[in-house]
Symmetry: C2
Subunit: 305 residues, 2 copies
């Protein structure tokens, strides 16, 4: 089934204890599509300035990522500069230059309007709502958000919640949105406001999938070397949504598998800067990592007699 993502396409400059990258491909829509493309074709909607090295996006086009919705407009592209310290858990933002992204008004090409699976990456909830109005009859809509929108666009975000099937956010954002310190209570609060599923990401501590009926938990893969955690959340979402779009099966069992695919993609992307590892990883690598996840948590609950 067709999979649409709307989000940022940026140039990132990142420093970690292990190295430095300058003006590399970044942005939520970029990470999402590179990750999802292992599962499904992707339709991307975003905006870049006239300074963007669009030739570097060719590699995405070759991977069945349709860039017909990537608007190119006069001005500077979205740039983010950040630094990670020792623990790589949270980035320190050194500079954000929104550039043309600050005037982004997502406009779906006609051929994207029939998308079945829709991911509204982390942009202004008002824009997320405008995107939804352009999609004719989506089967499954998921959105991401962040602390900035929770604070400045709370009303719009609550309107959006009533219209999506799933929201993905990190634990700090879930607590901020719901004013509940306890994550189970936070998830219940969100579930009561629309989404049938809440995915709470905890970075190196894994991810929870909450529905009204059940809780599923997938750990983050215990890697011996983590290089750069930029884009891990969007890569997670890409693997998750890509798998759902490919299988077109919204059963709980399949959603659980989708979370594990997402976790696998999150565990790959952090092995290198930018989307490098997402491009080099193979279907075999992904299958092996999924099997590793299975072994990681497997136990036989029957006690010996």
């Amino acid at each position: 089934m067709s999979l649409l993502v709307v989000g940022s396409v940026a140039l990132d400059s990142v420093e970690t204890p292990f190295g430095k990258a300058d003006e590399v491909l970044g942005g939520s829509a970029t990470y999402f599509s590179a990750s999802a493309s292992h599962q499904s074709p992707v339709q991307l909607v975003g905006v870049v300035g006239d300074d963007y090295p669009v030739d570097r996006l060719e590699t995405l086009r070759e991977r069945r990522i349709d860039l017909a919705g990537l608007e190119k407009t006069e001005g500077e592209s979205f740039r983010w500069r950040g630094r990670y310290r020792h623990d790589l858990n949270s980035a320190e933002t050194l500079e954000t230059r929104l550039g043309v992204f600050s005037h982004f008004r997502p406009k779906l090409p006609d051929q994207f309007k029939s998308a079945s699976y829709v991911f509204l990456a982390n942009i202004d909830p008002r824009l997320q709502l405008q995107v939804l109005e352009q999609v004719e009859k989506p089967k499954f809509v998921a959105c991401d958000t962040m602390n900035f929108w929770i604070e400045s666009r709370r009303g719009d975000l609550l309107d959006l919640l009533a219209k999506v099937d799933l929201i993905t956010l990190n634990d700090g954002e879930a607590r901020q949105l719901t004013e509940k310190a306890n994550l189970v209570q936070a998830a219940r609060w969100i579930l009561a406001r629309g989404p049938k599923t809440v995915l709470i990401k905890k970075g190196e501590h894994g991810a929870f999938m909450f529905t009204n009926e059940s809780i599923f938990y997938a750990p983050a893969y215990p890697l011996e070397a983590v290089f750069d955690t930029t884009g891990a959340g969007d890569s997670f979402a890409g693997g998750f949504m890509g798998y759902l779009a490919r299988t077109n099966d919204l059963s709980e069992a399949n959603m659980r598998r989708a979370v594990v695919i997402g976790s696998a993609m999150g565990s790959f992307v952090v092995e290198a800067f930018s989307i490098t590892r997402l491009l080099s990883v193979t279907r075999d690598d992904i299958d092996r990592r999924v099997a590793d996840f299975h072994r990681l948590v497997a136990f036989d609950q029957d006690m010996p007699s």
Copy 2:
């Protein structure tokens, strides 16, 4: 098989956002035995002052916890006073009065010297080593430790590492001991120094069991209400060691089950102050929680065709 624990028996006074408890049963050996007693008889070695309300320990004796090694000596009992804030992840210690515990020289009653399973709770590594000298032929020895000993008794702790089968410590302590930020690297460092198994506890983020051959991960149970996290680590260890002592099976499959039993006990103890919940929980409750853990992480890795 016989299970021996050496550790503290204390009186705790705890404040949490949900209530207050004054001079309730506490200490690592107390939590450990109350938890382990659901699986196995326990032999306890510790010390209390002449002010200790020993009649309140009767309930332990009734649960097959042998208190023959609980020394009663002149002076004040070990008292700890702490406060938990909103998130319950870490206690702020308001007061520690070691009392008679500062002169503790563990002496095993003759009938304890043949113990097969031994847990050296968090005490001075020199004392942990002295206990080991008194045990004739243990089958499986595990130890706990803390930041204070890692800093002040590093040499003794490294000596101890060479003599135990397993060490359990939290993620911060593992990083402190090994000077590795990455937990996989930290575990490898410890494994190279003696223990065949390293259990790294991450509080609400679950626990890892590392061996040279594999990694197992068990999440903490996502509880809707956490009341008081004091003793969670020792209750985890009690469930783990109690299960091993009961089944006397050190296969990886059984050690994995033991970790889940430990996680279950850790998830119960935080539901009330002191050891209250450990005493009220039933075998059925434990079995149900183990099944809940199984459902929590279960996924079918076969993709739909």
